[in-house]
């Protein structure tokens, strides 16, 4: 079971001090937060993607490559990568590059993005958000698995003889999660490809997410990727921890009350009761998090949102200390002891995927042919492909 944190990259005024961090400050701080996550024993750091203020994370692979360079065990990932407004060709290239630099310590999560004005900035239309997401992933999937792709779809310029470079590390594509909370088509796509499914588990009662998770499990089995229990599931959640419940409530309340997403709406107590938010002592956070497994079955990744709504960086680092010292070790032990042996303990790592593809053989290491000024006709541009030789007979 992996534990980690996910950030939406909001730059929000601290409602207690009135201080709004500069972009420079917040970007520097997110690196501290991510590296500290590894220091306290967490497994995963995830960053969102946004293209409008007050968010900073427009270039997640740049940030994640930097974090990967500063860490040794942490898996870097996204929450989420926009599969709608990004060109899947660029995603294939950027994330393959990140995969190389991170030595495979990465994966990514795809989401649609629900900010309508962002779509036209990238030449898209939010009304086509779902078909865009589905079609773009179909292409991304092929770009990472086929050296040379001919492709024609509804939304993007057709591709003829296109090779996405670099090829994935060890010619094994990064593991992909599909994030969704209300779209059966996304759950179906995750199941069809045998990818992971992630429910953000933030805004609604957990029962709300249960139906689609059950559907994803059924379809994962239907497509022959394994049993329902072997489906790969990740969940979000948010927590604020203090030594005792009252302190946690007192400290978090001003941030909750003015949080960008739910501030000035429900009371914190109502939100705690109705949603997966847990504010309280380590034991309370542990107890609430354990209810997720009861509702959804064994799952492989738990990400907490802890750095939003203007929470100052020292408080966030302290939250990481509390998570790492008092919460996660207990959750690890509890969840491991309850896990059905058939259910995977972790989502597949790069090493797992390499082993699944090659067994004990050495992985393929693609080496390009010399530049012939024209890499778009003929077969593979890589040396280990026979078809390349066929199409260019030597004189």
């Amino acid at each position: 079971m992996q534990f980690g944190i996910m950030s939406v990259s909001d730059i929000t005024r601290d409602p207690v001090t009135g201080h709004t961090p500069s972009e420079a400050e917040r970007i520097e701080n997110i690196v501290r937060i991510a590296t500290h996550a590894e220091e306290v024993g967490l497994d995963v750091f995830a960053i969102g993607e946004h293209h409008n203020p007050p968010f900073f994370s427009s270039s997640p692979t740049t940030l994640l490559a930097h974090i990967a360079a500063l860490t040794t065990t942490l898996t870097v990932t996204t929450s989420t990568t926009l599969i709608t407004t990004n060109d899947p060709v660029r995603l294939a290239e950027e994330y393959a590059m990140l995969q190389h630099l991170a030595k495979g310590r990465m994966d990514l999560m795809l989401g649609r993005g629900n900010t309508a004005p962002v779509y036209p900035w990238f030449g898209q239309d939010i009304r086509q958000g779902l078909p865009l997401a589905l079609e773009n992933y179909n292409l991304l999937h092929r770009l990472w698995r086929e050296d040379v792709v001919d492709w024609e779809g509804q939304f993007r310029t057709p591709l003829q003889g296109f090779t996405s470079t670099p090829r994935p590390l060890d010619d094994v594509p990064p593991f992909v999660w599909h994030g969704s909370i209300r779209t059966p088509e996304i759950a179906e796509q995750a199941a069809f490809y045998g990818n992971g499914y992630f429910a953000n588990n933030i805004f609604w009662p957990k029962e709300h997410y249960k139906r689609l998770i059950t559907f994803y499990r059924q379809r994962f089995e239907h497509y022959g990727h394994g049993s329902r229990k072997q489906a790969v599931i990740g969940l979000g959640g948010q927590a604020f921890i203090a030594k005792n419940s009252q302190d946690a409530h007192d400290q978090f309340r001003p941030y909750f009350n003015e949080a960008p997403v739910y501030g000035n709406g429900p009371t914190m107590e109502d939100f705690e009761e109705m949603t997966p938010l847990s504010v309280g002592s380590p034991q309370e956070v542990i107890d609430k998090t354990l209810t997720f497994r009861e509702a959804f079955g064994d799952y492989q990744r738990q990400l907490f949102l802890i750095d939003h709504a203007g929470l100052p960086v020292d408080m966030v680092l302290n939250q990481l200390d509390l998570l790492g010292e008092h919460v996660v070790p207990v959750l690890r032990a509890e969840l491991e002891s309850r896990r059905d042996p058939e259910a995977p303990a972790n989502p597949p790592s790069h090493a797992d995927l390499v082993k699944a593809k090659y067994g004990d053989q050495a992985p393929r290491q693609p080496r390009p042919n010399a530049n012939r000024g024209d890499n778009v006709t003929g077969g593979s541009p890589y040396q280990d492909s026979e078809s390349a030789a066929d199409s260019y007979p030597t004189l």
């Binding site: 779902l130 024609e152 209300r182 088509e185 179906e188 997403v261």
Partner: protein, 234 residues
């Protein structure tokens, strides 16, 4: 003959409330007329004042508290509805419109509704027909032809009783017709639904849609074989 369920939604906030009074008078007539025609009627009252504390979460996050959830369940189960609002500043009260704006678009399809409003002056009389009726048209509910409106002077006018009687009779006839249930049985798929809408009842997943084919590696592009002029037919 039939056992009908009637949900009465009142947005009156004072106690006693003339809005609630108007809703009650309509409800009594509906119940009495239905009984005369051999039906039993179970009445549930949804007093929107009791939902006030849950409204911020519902409006800002579509997060429905326990009372809201109960109200949605009652409306879903109802064969007919009486919906009554006070008129403030030339419109149905914010509480009333907010409540119905939070509901799923397909929750009330085909359900007969008596629309009722109260106001301090007769100058608000057309709010029911010009504003509330539009809201229920959007929700594809079926407001009865007779709208109810009572300003101060109407409470002493027997004509109000006549109108209440007329609206109640229209509602009972529409309930008897079984229109809402027939729509649900025969034409439900022709209305737009989203996953989990209809108060959480729309959870069937159609695996045969174009989008599902796209989700499983298919294409949205039309099959070139079907178009002789498609250049891909070369």
């Amino acid at each position: 003959m039939t056992d009908f369920r009637l949900a009465v939604v009142s947005a009156g906030v004072s106690d006693p409330s003339s809005t609630k009074l108007l809703a009650d008078r309509a409800t009594q007539r509906v119940t009495a007329l239905a009984r005369e025609r051999g039906h039993a009627v179970t009445v549930t009252t949804i007093d929107l004042r009791e939902l006030l504390q849950e409204l911020p979460a519902a409006l800002s996050n579509q997060l429905l508290g326990p009372r809201f959830t109960r109200a949605v369940d009652e409306l879903l189960a109802a064969d007919a509805i009486v919906a009554a609002a006070p008129v403030y500043k030339a419109g149905a009260s914010g509480l009333f419109t907010s409540f119905f704006q939070v509901l799923d678009n397909d929750l009330l399809i085909g359900k007969p509704v008596i629309l009722a409003a109260t106001a301090g002056t007769a100058r608000h009389a057309l709010v029911v027909d010009e504003e509330m009726r539009a809201l229920f048209a959007y929700l594809r509910a079926l407001p009865v032809p007779t709208s109810l409106f009572a300003s101060t002077e109407d409470w002493t006018d027997t004509a109000l009783g006549t109108r209440i009687d007329r609206a109640a009779r229209e509602l009972v006839l529409l309930m008897e017709s079984g229109f809402a249930r027939a729509v649900r049985d025969d034409a439900w798929g022709a209305y737009q639904h989203t996953y989990g809408s209809g108060g959480g009842t729309e959870v069937d997943i159609d695996l045969n849609s174009d989008l599902m084919r796209l989700a499983t590696g298919g294409s949205l592009r039309p099959d070139p074989d079907e178009d002789p002029f498609d250049p891909r037919n070369g």
